[in-house]
């Protein structure tokens, strides 16, 4: 009995199916808990899924590359999902035209603030250059941020974690902070959340309304575009690269 079980475990843990299934189930469990909690921001489904999966991998002694061999199928969908953002964007375009100038300036301000605030704080606290490089694109959607950091010679996988953390914090704090600042226009709320917290923020903004979600998705796309042009220059000017 026991050796048979071990054999099955060895077989399954080597196939991508196990970790793909675990990823989807951990997220669904997190989402269920989130809804059961009455959508309390701290019960963020992504955060809970990550904590559960890391605990499981550490307990079973599974290395990350083994996990990623299965999870990559989920990770891959980030590309088509980014392309898909064009659809809600189109259906909210009339509102975009109305706010075109304020949004462009806001994007520029947000994009520069995101990079400089994070790198500046890290530098004040004597962080290493690798950490500063990985922090710079933390408001940019994961696949793009990883590309930027890799080009600059930083650690892309650390960048991915900082991106996800920024997304979760923006999703958790964002709506409350914006209420507190008395920003009520769904387009402005969505755009600010998307500029700061990319796809995770966009997922949160879609819960507020389709309009907020569309603007968040737009901001995420534009920030990815702008940051990939701006960050190398910004980091060069601050003397980090």
């Amino acid at each position: 009995m026991k050796p048979a079980l071990t054999e099955i475990w060895v077989y399954l843990s080597a196939s991508p199916l196990l970790h793909l299934t675990l990823t989807v189930c951990a997220y669904l469990l997190g989402d269920w808990l989130f809804r059961r909690s009455g959508r309390k921001p701290i019960f963020n489904p992504v955060l809970m899924a990550i904590v559960a999966l890391v605990a499981l991998l550490v307990l079973t002694g599974t290395p990350y590359p083994t996990y990623f061999a299965g999870a990559q199928f989920v990770h891959f969908l980030l590309g088509p999902a980014t392309v898909a953002l064009a659809v809600p964007l189109y259906f909210n375009f009339s509102k975009l035209r109305r706010l075109l100038m304020p949004l462009c300036v806001g994007l520029f301000a947000g994009s520069i603030t995101a990079a400089l605030s994070a790198v500046g704080i890290a530098r004040l606290l004597d962080a290493s250059t690798g950490t500063m490089l990985a922090l710079a694109p933390k408001s940019v959607t994961a696949p793009v941020a990883m590309g930027i950091v890799e080009k600059l010679g930083g650690p892309p996988s650390l960048a991915a974690i900082l991106v996800v953390s920024t997304g979760i914090i923006g999703a958790v704090i964002g709506p409350t902070l914006l209420d507190w600042l008395k920003v009520h226009d769904p387009a402005v709320r969505g755009f600010a959340i998307g500029t700061t917290s990319h796809g995770i923020g966009t997922a949160r903004a879609f819960q507020e309304s389709e309009e907020a979600g569309a603007f968040s998705g737009l901001a995420m796309g534009l920030n990815a575009l702008l940051s990939s042009l701006l960050l190398p220059v910004l980091l060069y000017l601050t003397g980090i690269v």
Binding site: P88, L99, I193
Partner: protein
């Protein structure tokens, strides 16, 4: 750019394409985006270029947007799940995070709050100066 428009025109403007066909369209646009940015040596990431191209195609052919809508809203509903695999990568950096956690936590938390506030307040300040409202809706 021309090729994406041609692509979109070949499609019938069906009200609601089946999921697989919609997914194929998304992949084709991503592929054109990836190939285009590689060929032209652009700093823009492929999927973002794909999004811009798909947006252009829908603007030229709005039926395409309606056809894709059910699939894309399904995909975007679970957008945050797609970040889980990258997030689990935190385990690769336990050592560095243990050493620099104060700087990392403060940079991420304060940076995020400041960025949100700066973006939202900039937009609101500028939008108030140029008053909103249905003043210039010529098309309705």
């Amino acid at each position: 750019m021309v090729s994406s428009a041609a692509n979109a025109k070949d499609l019938p403007t069906l009200p609601g394409l089946p999921m697989l066909q919609s997914f194929a369209i998304l992949l084709v646009f991503q592929l054109i985006g990836e190939a285009g940015t590689q060929l032209l040596n652009l700093a823009v990431p492929g999927p973002v270029a794909g999004m811009a191209l798909l947006f252009t195609a829908i603007a030229l052919r709005p039926g395409l947007g309606h056809a894709l809508r059910s699939t894309t809203s399904g995909l975007l509903q679970h957008l945050s799940m797609l970040f889980v695999p990258a997030g689990v990568g935190v385990m690769l950096h336990a050592g560095r995070i243990r050493q620099e956690w104060v700087a990392i936590v403060l940079a991420v938390v304060i940076g995020t709050i400041v960025t949100l506030a700066v973006t939202a307040l900039t937009i609101r300040a500028l939008a108030e100066r140029a008053p909103l409202g249905p003043v210039e809706t010529e098309d309705e």
